[in-house]
């Protein structure tokens, strides 16, 4: 089992979700996060002072998949989340020992 985690631009979420569904992913979990990176930030004004805000809204997707699916899923995300502009985000893959479906107690491949 592998855990694929992706940080993407918020407005690409729908596209990525659709692409993943098509690629056969049955479940995933989404978190609203803020990202710091090469993209830099934006400026806010408050009482005449300028503040650089370098944490930008991003969306984090995580999904546990079969070992042999991991690369494919990662590529699907890369393809569907890309705008080509700085700040598109990252995808990473980490090992998973075990996954359990709470409802049934099924494990690993059956739990997905």
């Amino acid at each position: 089992m592998k855990l694929v985690t992706a940080i993407i631009k918020p407005h690409k979420l729908e596209d990525v979700k659709d692409a993943l569904k098509e690629a056969g992913v049955h479940g995933l979990t989404v978190t609203e996060v803020k990202g710091f990176g090469r993209q830099g930030g934006h400026t806010e004004i408050y009482r005449g002072a300028e503040y650089v805000v370098d944490l930008l809204p991003k969306v984090r997707i995580e999904m546990v998949v079969d070992d042999f699916d991991a690369e494919k899923v990662a590529n699907t995300i890369v393809a569907s989340a890309r705008t080509g502009k700085i700040g598109d985000g990252k995808v990473w893959i980490t090992p998973v020992d075990r996954i359990i479906r709470i409802r049934t107690g099924e494990i690993d491949a059956d739990a997905l």
Binding site: H11, E14, H42, T43, E44, I45, Y46, E50, V53
Partner: protein, 421 residues
């Protein structure tokens, strides 16, 4: 005439009530946009309170209410910078066709009349912000409403409220069905077309970011509309009372009309529907408020609520992105009210009014006048708004660029974010 303290008390608070409606509108709309655009929306509405009040004092009032009762097209510069707008209770339009030459004898300070009208001049252009939501540059907005106040609102106000040609023709408009709602609604349509659709619309869901804001805005609008309509009586008398009653019950009935059709069509009554329905009813009763009575306001409200629910679907059919339904609610609601007045008006409730088709002694005359006046205001506002908008577009650009649209107006136009919760 003498100043009457009772009438003055009512007009003082009415003026404040109508002023309070613009913040109400800001939140009515502000709740509906996405959270990245809420400050943009609030700012446009509050800024209207800043810019348009000053322009009204300098020139708008004079263009709208100069040459009062001339049966003509436009005022003059007699009241430039509120010149001769004093504390005395003057008689307007004496010696003109109005009221058989007697004119309109105010029983309140003239400056109060002018201030009351100022609050109308603020909210009317502000209504347009609903159709241009999420994509109009702030600078272009500022120039647009300034030009629109002078070139569209002031003349139309003169035609109707200032004793101009539409008033002389016999069209009725108690508190601005044509002057305010058809006028702003047509401008909203023009601007939505000029601006084009928001990126992603209508595929991508663009749900309201905070319906409670929309509901509190609705509450404030409903409350303030008491001043808008019953204040248009310019006195604390029986007609004001009738107008107040009509206003409140029309809003109620329109909410029911909207929700019933919504429930039948979509399966659930929504809070946004309740809010929109109430506002549609308030719009429709605006031209009628002091000219009808009995259960007519309930009929007017109920019908308009149902029709406006259906009307907001038009944009999907015709493909213009009237983001927050200025057309469906204000243009259609204003038309409904103006035309239904041709049916329900009765001199039983206001001797200075006229009898509509359903009233004893009524005929088709009023109905025809109402339709003609509505069409004229609609066409004038639509064309003028297209022209003004197009010129601003060529000169400065109307629309933010794609990146800015994605980031939102709050950050790109005002360098602020709405929430740090």
């Amino acid at each position: 005439m003498e100043i009457d303290a009772g009438n003055t008390a009512w007009m003082l608070i009415s003026t404040a009530l109508v002023l309070f409606m613009t913040p109400g509108l800001a939140f009515f709309y502000g709740g509906m946009v996405r959270s990245k655009n809420v400050l943009g929306m609030l700012m446009q509405n509050f800024f209207a309170m800043g810019l348009l009040a000053v322009l009204w004092v300098l020139v708008g009032f004079s263009l709208a209410f100069g040459n009062f009762g001339d049966g003509g097209w436009i005022g003059n510069f007699d009241h430039f910078a509120f010149d001769k707008v004093g504390q005395a209770a003057v008689t307007l339009g004496e010696g003109t066709w109005m009221s058989g030459g007697a004119g309109l004898a105010l029983t309140i300070p003239f400056v109060l009349f002018a201030a009351f009208q100022m609050t109308f001049a603020i909210i009317t252009p502000a209504l347009i912000t609903g159709s241009t939501a999420d994509r109009l540059k702030f600078k272009a907005y500022a120039i647009f409403i300034a030009a629109w106040l002078i070139l569209v609102y002031s003349p139309v106000a003169h035609w109707v409220f200032g004793g101009g040609f539409l008033a002389k023709m016999g069209a009725l408009d108690f508190a601005g069905g044509a002057v305010v709602h058809i006028n702003a609604g047509a401008a909203g349509l023009a601007m939505a077309i000029l601006l084009g659709k928001r990126n992603g619309w209508p595929k991508e869901p663009m749900h309201p970011h905070s319906l409670p804001w929309t509901l509190i805005g609705t509450g404030i609008l409903w409350f303030g509309w008491a001043g808008f309509n019953a204040g248009s009586a310019l006195a604390a008398d029986g007609i004001a009372a009738q107008a107040l009653f009509n206003t409140f019950t029309a809003a109620s009935a329109a909410m029911l009309g909207w929700l019933i059709v919504e429930k039948l069509k979509d399966g659930k009554p929504t809070t946004l529907g309740a809010a929109s329905g109430a506002v549609a009813g308030l719009v429709a009763i605006t031209p009628c408020a002091g000219f009808v009575g009995g259960v007519a306001p309930i009929a007017i409200g109920f019908i308009t609520g149902a029709v406006c629910f259906l009307a907001i679907q038009l944009k999907f059919k015709f493909g213009y992105d009237d983001s927050l339904d200025v057309v469906g609610v204000h243009l259609v609601g204003g038309l409904m009210g103006s035309i239904l007045l041709g049916l329900f008006a009765s001199t039983e409730y206001n001797p200075a009014g006229a009898n509509g088709l359903f009233a004893e002694g009524g005929g088709l005359d009023l109905l025809i006048d109402q339709i003609v006046a509505s069409v004229i205001v609609l066409a004038f506002s639509f064309i003028m708004s297209l022209v003004i908008g197009k010129i601003i577009d060529l000169a400065f650009g109307l629309r933010v660029d794609e990146d800015e649209e994605e980031q939102g107006l709050d950050l790109t136009q005002h360098a602020e974010v709405a929430y740090n919760l």
